[in-house]
Subunit: 552 residues, 2 copies
């Protein structure tokens, strides 16, 4: 039933994915007013959500709004690893034996219902992750739904490429043998999806839906300080599963605490056959190396680079870059971190601009954004975690002591929430040639390092070495020479990274479009899972066949 | 050039793979006469084949014909792991940067040339593996070529599903942004292919060609006692690579010895990113668990079961089963091992036949085959390894002592080679209900256990438990009730195994057709790699993209 309802949408997604052109399956979500958002979040105050196999254990999660500073005070059922794995095992057969169309239909209907409740999700996302309401409606709203739909379309396409049966005839010696063969897709086993605190939907929806559509029961383990948005998404899916006559425990929420984490225990259980992880590079690497006999998909972090060589319009480029550094306070895996500027400065249509002037223009563009409270609030949002602010303060102090500080990460004045964990980007300027240190990996949050370098070639060399060592999820270049863009794209590709050139527009530079942009190459240390290539989908199901002789 | 030459063949293979109907890309190869085959093998006596990066090291492999007992006396260049990995790394860039059509063309042309030299390959295969010349022309000849072509077609189809570029337009706010995006497939890294002694081509061709077509340089590590057929295949590919202007070291042969194996060292090197292994379950499992950050594809072994419930024509079924047990002296991963017969015997169109009579009929069918030397030679071939004969003798002695021996694995009289390592199947009959032991896993070689069981249900229960514990690559059923076949196929599928029912024909029961039959489900302990599903192909390349703003 659900499948038929959404069949046209599914086909359109398959088509968009094949052309990789711009398309969306979901109308834009209008952000709620601040007061409405608070009311929505407040309606969960004191609630207990049971989104797993029956268990008496409860955890009141440590969720605090980055805007109001108020605890959300939501309690979740908290099954042990054993209970959750047992529940998944009990749900497995019914999910496995359900028709693919039924499972795909459940996925599509769940996306539809999450979209219908888009404002509610945006409110909750904002008050758990710190995303602005606008971003929660797009990045964690329609864009996340599109990435989810994209993966459902890819599962559907992959499964549709195998015929359900064939009558097979071949001559052996003098006799013709006829076999009737059936080909049936089967799931791999219990799947674990580990979501991150600041951007849970965009990565989790694809993993969850890829698993459900292929018939693998799912345990969703959100970050212990950012549970509610994921919990409500899981509740929607459970509701749709029930209406489809499937066991609700085909998806369960598993809640843990910072002090007593359960992810490693779940990931290493022999019953767990698939793990999808978004989070730190250290835990991602641990999973890749320590979880045997299991498909492990990771999206972690890298050091994203920007090379400034030449631009048409410097102020436009600096506005774009300032926006990129500020967007969601640098808490995106696509946020630029290291910005290379050659000794000769940046060439523009109006002549070369010295490096000092470029740095000043960038600082000024950030200041402009930071000084416009309403715009700053919409762009920057708030820091999800107090730990990020502390790390930022420590970096600032060190840069001030080093003499490398260009811009302090001053708080902008949030128009609605004076107590919001609001910051603007820290800018540090270093010259590795004189021994200035660079951090050994990603600095989470709004911090960028302007790196003085000899010329474009040395910038490419340093940046691609950084990709190889630290990984990169997005890389950026400003260069008006198209042949040079080709060559630099080759150099990044050789290092296993994608490249975006000359983005100066109303499109945020780190925007990655479902159906079109590949996110994470799998060819550098920033993770092995690509949203969305066929390897993200193919191994989650396998084929069993039977054949019987009907003649010969 | 090569691509255009073979384009129609490639397209036909893509089509066959989509319909999964019977098709072959290669005309049958006529086996050489025995004398011709010996001449072909003799022409390599004293030869030195250098099929790797330049190295002064040489190994004269311990290859002895299972037919003549004569040493082949072929010497191979033997690069160290470091040398081979270094050579692969040096070849990597040119292979990676070659156009996909060029790489696919090389694969297709290599298959074509191997086919043209089919009789030579058959002669060498026969005198290294023990396969009969007829089987070496089919199972290691056209069938292996077809499995290779199938995987090239799948790589081509997978890569063709991603457009090379798109002009992408989307409105942000009030402005339309236009990006030009390119999508480029990139290989993962150095690939290691470890081939087995008795059936090297069928599994190695797909792995080798999947890697080359996706741009990963390949190290091929044959079994130290079965090198030459693989070596000549590698030499053909190197020859085609050179003609295509690509580095020959994009594929290298790495030869080791039984006493100083190199596979684990190569597999665990950080530069190795893909491993394909055919061989023992123990080393396969070790690879799956110990090789980090690497795609590991395994095809190992399992205990293949046969359930005898009911048949139309008992003699025909017993002839087929006797042929299945005898084919290549049971040295195939698809050979049946455990044969279940219920207490009530087997129902036939002519009434029930008691278990004792069924066992007698099976023994008699094997005796008939064994007693016809020319046919026995064509079917059974010879044992590749003396160790297999010793293990078989030990099992025979134990069964004789236990009172479970039904048929001794007597040597058949080979019409050409009286000194051939020729045997016929050992039959043992056990009843687990009275405590008779069954081996804990696969018994390599021509040995089958007839298992007395209560009824069909208990047979299914015991057999599927065996699949879960030991794995299975092929499973067989004889049952005239189609609804029961469905139910039993479900039970096997639930255990992660495929099922073939009611095979009574000139088609060998373990025949697996390229483009149609999935080989190894990946859902039980017999391995994780399926010939050929999309997961066998998808992860061997990843996508890098670049996008540049052209308007907006």
């Amino acid at each position: 039933m659900f499948f038929e309802t959404h069949r046209d949408l599914l086909q359109a997604a398959v088509d968009a994915n094949q052309t990789r052109s711009a398309w969306t399956g979901y109308t834009a979500i209008a952000p709620p007013e601040c007061g409405q958002a608070e009311d929505i979040v407040g309606s969960y105050d004191g609630a207990t959500l049971c989104l797993s196999v029956q268990t008496p254990s409860r955890i009141t999660a440590d969720e605090v709004s980055p805007y109001t500073g108020k605890a959300l005070n939501v309690t979740y059922s908290a099954p042990s690893a054993e209970e959750a794995l047992g529940g998944a095992a009990r749900a497995a057969v019914a999910l496995r034996d359900a028709d693919v169309e039924l499972r795909v239909g459940v996925c599509l209907e769940a996306l539809h219902r999450i979209h219908l409740r888009g404002r509610e999700f945006a409110a909750i996302t904002s008050h758990t992750t710190g995303q602005s309401l606008a971003m929660a409606c797009s990045g964690s709203g329609t864009n996340a739904l599109d990435r989810g739909l994209e993966v459902v379309a890819m599962v559907w396409a992959a499964m549709s490429r195998v015929p359900p049966e064939v009558t097979w005839q071949q001559t052996f010696g003098t006799s013709e043998v006829t076999l009737r063969k059936r080909f049936r897709a089967r799931p791999l086993g219990t799947a674990l999806v580990i979501a991150c605190a600041s951007f849970p939907a965009w990565n989790a929806y694809p993993a969850i839906l890829a698993n459900l559509a292929t018939g693998n029961p799912v345990l969703v383990k959100p970050h212990p300080r950012s549970v509610l948005a994921t919990a409500v998404a899981v509740s929607v899916i459970r509701e749709v599963l029930a209406e489809a006559g499937l066991p609700t425990d085909a998806i369960q929420l598993v809640v843990d605490t910072v002090d007593d984490p359960v992810a490693a225990r779940l990931a290493t259980d022999p019953a767990t056959r698939i793990v999808d992880f978004t989070g730190s590079q250290s835990f991602g690497t641990w999973l890749e190396r320590n979880v045997d006999n299991t498909l492990v998909f990771t999206e972690t972090a890298g050091v994203n680079t920007v090379i400034l060589d030449s631009v048409r319009d410097l102020p436009a480029a600096m506005r774009t870059l300032a926006g990129g550094l500020s967007l969601f306070s640098g808490q995106m895996c696509t946020t630029p971190q290291n910005i290379y500027i050659p000794d000769a400065g940046v060439r523009t249509d109006h002549g070369p601009v010295s490096r000092d002037d470029v740095v000043a223009a960038l600082r000024s563009a950030i200041d402009d954004l930071a000084g416009a409270p309403r715009r700053a609030a919409a762009v920057c949002g708030a820091l999800q975690s107090e730990a990020t602010r502390q790390a930022l303060d420590a970096l600032t102090d060190r840069a001030a002591a080093d003499g490398t500080l260009v811009r302090r990460p001053s708080a902008y004045v949030h128009p609605e929430y004076p107590q919001a964990r609001a910051v603007t980007p820290l800018l540090v300027r270093v010259d590795p040639r004189r021994g200035d240190p660079l951090p050994d990996g990603e600095q989470f949050g709004p911090v960028a390092f302007v790196i003085d370098c000899a010329d474009r070639e040395s910038a490419v060399e340093h940046a691609t070495a950084s990709v190889r060592r630290h990984g990169a999820i997005s890389s950026y270049l400003y260069c008006t020479d198209d042949a040079a863009v080709d060559a630099i794209a080759d150099a990044y590709a050789d290092a296993g990274a994608s490249l975006s050139a000359n983005l100066v527009s109303s499109m945020p530079m780190q925007y990655a479009a479902a159906y079109s942009d590949y996110h994470v190459t799998g060819l550098n240390p920033a993770g092995n899972a690509t949203l969305t290539d066929e390897s993200f989908v193919a191994g989650r199901f396998r084929m069993v066949q039977d054949r019987r002789q009907v003649r010969g």
